[in-house]
Amino acid sequence: MATPLSLKELSKKEVLLTGGHRMCAGCGAPIVVKMVLLAAEQPVVAANATGCLEVSTCISEFTAWKIPWIHNAFENAAATASGVETMYRSLKKQGKIDKDIKFIAFGGDGGTYDIGFQSLSGAMERGHDLLYICYDNGAYMNTGIQRSSATPFGADTTTCPAGSAIPGKLQHRKDLTKIMAAHGIPYVAQASPSHWQDLMKKVKKALATPGPKFMNIIAPCNRGWRSRNDDAIQLSRLAVETCYWPLFEIENGVTTISVKPKEKKPLVEFLKPQGRFKHLFGPENEHLLNEAQAQVDAYWDRLLREEAFSASLGSKEAEEKIA
């Protein structure tokens, strides 16, 4: 029996990432992991890319993981999980394992968008039955807040510092979620811990879908975002409400926006509480704020059009046409 997505029922389930791990107070990543593992019905084996989540949860002899877990290196959580999943298929075929086990790989944006991109793309193309989850905090956070290709436009990081000549990051974020959808895999989604039911529903759907799946989940980092210690959920909610981080899923090529903000808030509401965007609020950088808003608007509009296109075809037809 699947556990209903109610706090009452979920509270009865064992939390599989223990308290006492050494993530920073107020970090978004362990919240995401707990939600993901709570959503899983079957036993899960996880692979983890090098990064904050990994170094802080596995300090020998005190692992925080109550599930089988493997950390290999920075760029290869997907390839490592491919190997684990392949051995599972091999042993299952041979009758040496009879359990139904699910596989999840966790990586931050550095280990996913950048150095781990090839290994991720390869694993998705090969069709391994695993779910790759990127917890996206928009920089290489445990190495001192360095720019990644997921760092938002205009952000101040230690490797793209806002200075008098260059006002922070000049490039737009890589749209990894869509790139993953372009692999033609059966399930791709974006989620946010502020919308926990939506997130967990998506995890359940992903794990129930055979084949390779990808989820991109926003995970605020108060150290890197220069924000308050207790606002991870508030900021991830603002990310959704400003349409900076739209919640949608792409199932076999069919796009559905799962949460549409009643009122689309201006992007500055998401940017303002974060110190990494402080410099954008000077009069000389107003054009950058405008550009950032224009990008978010354009992305959201395109997403709405994609959803409408999918709906206009009817999901079956769309599946055939787009897949």
């Binding site: 599930i67 493997i70 491919s82 190997g83 086990i101 390869g122």
Partner: protein, 397 residues
């Protein structure tokens, strides 16, 4: 069938290694093709496609991912193998340490090839020598027969309960990998029984007993882990010899930590790895006929290196030349030379030594080069003096 139920065949080194892998029948193989090892996996995947093995393949997008997937699969709890060469091994480098640090008994065929740049696809030992300190066991092979035999033994060695470390089996690119030789195959059942069932230790897939692989070890324990790794490696020699004894029972072929040829009563000696040993043996016979008491030592277990045993075997000589098929940039001696020098260092009375670098990037090692070395050794014997400690042979001036 030949004598004793063994099958006599004419095959390439790659074919022989693929055959060993078919007979071992691993649970998972991951691979990314690279010359000259490509042929091993081409042959092996055809065994997979034709249902000759139970193996699940992971045909990855890079050598880095090949070793990453091998690590995942091995930690999951089954028998794992792969093959690579040169740049492929170099791209795996980071992962080689992770495989050994996690004590995962992955077996890899390394078809030795030169490293870039300049790019060169032919045989030398730069790749294997570059990986010599990654914590892997290394077995080197003179010919296809030894590559086949070593490959079969490597699973038993790597998976041994006292060790559980990854192992690579080296053979020379093209010279062995692509040349056809006469050799003997063991039958499938014999190999299967010899390899035995894979015994899993702390598998990831045991969801009832969750384990964490690859944790962070800080300054408090890191050195202890490294020390423990060294401790495990110190047990490898004995296991290699025990496995060789068992292998002799099924094959009639004898293996040790190294091979010696006419070395016991020799006054001068050559130390050389892999395929060049054959040519050298012929030249030694020739010089023996001329009255030069020459002998050869061919290392088989290169990592961990059996310093004491090698030192004992060479200490009575007056002069030794070490032939290296890998150079060391920075005007250093060749890697094999330094191991042999270290082996002989503890002895008060020890041979004088010199080092020749030969055969880089697949350049032929010819009998007249071996003769040149033996002539120089004979001269050194007379004078007791070394002319030049390190020199290249077979280089156009």
């Amino acid at each position: 069938m030949g004598t004793n139920g063994k099958k006599i065949v004419a095959v390439t080194g790659n074919e022989a290694v693929a055959e060993a892998m078919r007979q071992i029948n691993p649970d998972v193989c991951a691979a990314y093709p690279i010359t000259p090892a490509t042929d091993i996996m081409q042959r092996f995947t055809s065994f997979v496609s034709n249902g000759k093995v139970k193996t699940e393949m992971v045909l990855v997008e890079s050598e880095h991912s090949a070793m990453s997937a091998c690590i995942g699969a091995s930690a999951a709890g089954g028998r794992v193998a792969t093959a690579t060469s040169a740049q492929g091994l170099a791209l795996m480098w980071e992962e080689l340490y992770i495989a050994s640090g996690n004590r995962l008994p992955i077996v890899m065929s390394l078809v030795n090839r030169a490293l870039s740049a300049p790019i060169n696809i032919h045989g030398d030992h730069s790749d294997g020598m570059g990986a010599r300190d990654c914590g892997w066991i290394q077995l080197w092979s003179e010919n296809a027969q030894e590559a086949y035999d070593n490959m079969i033994q490597a699973f038993r060695i790597a998976e041994h309960g006292d060790i559980r470390m990854p192992a690579m089996v080296c053979m020379d690119g093209f010279i062995i990998s692509h040349s056809i030789e006469r050799m003997e195959y063991l039958d499938d059942e014999t190999v299967r029984n010899f390899a035995g069932e894979f015994k899993t230790v702390n598998p990831l897939l045991d969801v009832e007993h969750p384990v964490s692989y690859g944790p962070l070890i800080l300054t408090d324990y890191y050195m202890e882990y490294r020390r423990a790794h060294a401790e495990v490696m110190s047990k490898v020699k004995k296991v290699v010899l025990d496995v060789a004894k068992d292998f002799e029972k099924i094959s009639g072929r004898e293996y040790g930590l190294f091979e010696t040829y006419r070395l016991e009563d020799a006054e001068v000696g050559i130390v050389v790895l892999n395929s060049a040993a054959g040519t050298t043996k012929d030249a030694i016979d020739m010089f023996r006929d001329k009255g030069v008491k020459a002998g050869l030592l061919k290392p088989r277990l290169f990592r961990p290196f059996p310093y004491e045993e090698v030192g004992e075997a060479l200490k009575h000589l007056k002069a030794v030349c070490v032939l290296d098929r890998a150079d060391a940039f920075g005007a250093s001696y060749g890697p094999l030379f330094m191991e042999i020098a270290a082996s002989l260092y503890p002895y008060k009375e020890r041979p004088v030594m010199f080092n020749k670098v030969y055969g880089l990037g697949g350049r032929d090692y010819l009998p007249d080069q071996a003769e040149l070395v033996l002539t120089e050794l004979a001269e050194t014997l007379k004078t007791g003096k070394v002319k030049t400690v390190k020199e290249y042979i077979g280089v156009r001036e």
